[in-house]
Symmetry: C2
Subunit: 386 residues, 2 copies
């Protein structure tokens, strides 16, 4: 059997699997403990009613001959791609419908998009980083250079002009640090990418958490980005779709062959997203959908602010928590040891910074995806042990 040897380069355990294993072991030993999870970035609030109604309606349609849907269009149904175009237009960004591709989520897209590139590409990823960017490239044997995100640069690294990258990952608002690029700093990446003829893979999965109008929610707010950047977005955090599965990416025609190549890849290795799910996604973009998801995100933002304020009060350095659902705090020690301590002494689950890269050591990620009462209780416990 001739296997892909690059898999040997991957670490044995996916970060969140290891977190889950440790929590499960603790739970088994202490079944009476009330554990609060501020670890994996999964949403907790249910889907909005307008989205649920759309899903029920679409399921019903699928049972009637006149309204049944078989294979859908490769880029996604027009009702959804049009809604996505409109969502950009209202933020002053012009994109064409044929630049939008609907998918089952940003994680799939970000991994699968790599099929379009040479395996000898040099890949720039931030450290700390969402592990998927690294692992998907290692699987294809690519060389990775790290852009160091540290306290010194506000966890917002800038390009290293001495390196010639071919692919550049940027996630803003960032996972795991919660840090958000301003336009000026993001422009440095766009200029660098254009100078290198590199492609930026911009992960905008958390754009909906940005409320400061001074901060960009799309890379296309930066002039020239439509000549060098692909943008990945998801309804997972915006509308609670982690278990419903819908995302999209924007591949501008100005990027040359990429749009056609991606269509070719997707039409060969993918058959589109469930009609029912696409109708649910469409409902997210309706005026009622917007109002309802804003309510949900406000809950998470209130949690994030509470965590951030608590840390401020305690004098703990951190990033995020304002325009992001993530809070990245300095834990001043071995971050897996801090994980174990927080789990054992406060029964609170977070994610150790070391799991996101070498610059994550000494840091720790908390997420806003719980309800307010549990977040309050977690903060009370945190104060007690720190």
């Amino acid at each position: 059997m001739r296997l892909n040897k690059n898999f040997d380069l991957l670490k044995d355990n996916y970060l969140f699997a290891e977190v889950e294993n440790r929590v499960a072991a603790y739970k088994a030993a202490h079944p009476e403990k009330d554990i609060i999870k501020l670890g994996i970035g999964d949403v907790t609030l249910p889907l909005c009613s307008v989205v649920v109604d759309a899903g029920m309606r679409a399921a019903h349609e699928m049972g009637e001959k006149e309204t049944f849907h078989g294979y859908g269009p490769y880029r996604g149904y027009t009702f959804l791609t049009q809604a996505i175009v409109a969502y950009y237009v209202e933020r002053g960004i012009k994109i064409k419908e044929s630049e939008v591709f609907v998918s089952d989520g940003a994680k799939s897209d970000i991994g699968n998009f790599l099929d379009l590139f040479d395996e000898d590409c040099v890949v720039s990823v931030p450290d700390p980083v969402y592990p998927v960017y690294v692992d998907t490239n290692l699987m294809q044997g690519r060389k990775i250079v790290y852009a160091n995100a540290t306290r010194e640069n506000d966890f917002l690294p800038l390009p290293d002009e001495s390196v010639k990258a071919d692919l550049i990952y940027i996630c803003s608002p960032n996972n795991p640090t919660g840090a958000v690029y301003d336009r000026e700093r993001l422009k440095k990446w766009v200029d660098y990418a254009r100078a290198c003829d590199a492609v930026i893979l911009f992960d905008a999965a958390y754009e909906y958490f940005v409320s400061d109008p001074e901060l960009p929610r799309s890379i296309y707010e930066i002039p020239g980005a439509d000549r060098c950047a692909v943008e990945f977005c998801s309804l997972s955090k915006t509308a609670g779709f982690t278990g419903t599965r819908c995302g999209y990416c924007i591949v501008p025609h100005k990027l040359g062959k990429l749009n056609g190549l991606w269509l070719r890849r997707q039409s060969t290795k993918f058959n589109g997203v469930s009609y029912i799910v696409q109708r649910m996604a469409e409902a997210v973009f309706s005026p009622e959908g917007r109002a309802q998801i804003a309510g949900n995100v406000a809950v998470y933002k209130k949690n994030a602010a509470l965590i951030s304020d608590t840390l401020k009060e305690m004098g703990v350095y951190h990033t995020g928590g304002v325009n992001s659902p993530y809070i990245w705090l300095h834990c001043g020690t071995d971050s897996w040891a801090f994980f174990d301590r927080l789990l054992a002494d406060a029964n609170v689950v977070g994610t150790p910074g070391a799991g996101f890269g070498k610059n994550g050591e000494g840091f720790f990620r908390l997420t806003a995806f719980n309800d307010y009462e549990h977040t309050q209780e977690a903060m009370r416990r945190l104060k007690k042990i720190l």
Copy 2:
């Protein structure tokens, strides 16, 4: 921009896109014509009521905090993987739940599974072939050797012992030919694969159309197959899920590292299938679901039999049509020319054999996925022009 140059090896147009283009051009020129589509293999009957009900129920659950579902398990929900295990057990095949992986469809799985293999693998695919097997390998730069399927071998090629393959594609019931391997011939492939240490990628997407108990519906009916074969299956044709999107694959632990590698690939580049869709898939396997889908498939089988009987009556050589929704007929001429003639003179759409490989030239594929009345009318027109 450093692109994957292997994409240059792909032909410009995906077969079905070209079919669609020609039909659209004909329609535009002749808007009054009543076109009957027996071309692309898309189902036409709506989802069964038990499946629709499950979808509506699951959508409703997603709107309630107590029953909301975020990220699901990487292999799929237990309620579904257990149902799939039971589906195999009742056919006398023992598989473990951890050998089942739920996905958004067999097309995604078949393409993505290649991530696990070395790019220097030698790949055996039949000719004619479902183009996805070829294109997904060309994208990764693999060398393809063709197993010639011809009238002489009933379109069921056997292994060529002089070739050492690493990956072997078998689709039975076959797309596009409708031919079905018997156990004896399938065993030759299993023995060959084991002798070569090759992996068989067995596409069982049409297994539900097999009613002859002498013909295998799973490769695991062949002794030793669990040491060399991965099986891909789909609810697209079984339960009309082409627009709902759910499939699964079986990766036996006896295949060594493959099960773990696939889990690693899927947990890194995929986030599972919508909870709602998995509940709908579960309903397919319920006793009521089985009864209802059997009713739908009976309709398609009746169509297939009608097409096959008509061709027999006319003395036209063909395969399929009995244990398969596809009918592969000898059209005795340039198959794209036959396509154009059938479209123009009978207003019937099929798929030219040449689109499936060199051995497809002179042959033509018709599908049973229409209603009985349209299939009858198409046969009347066929008789008139042939």
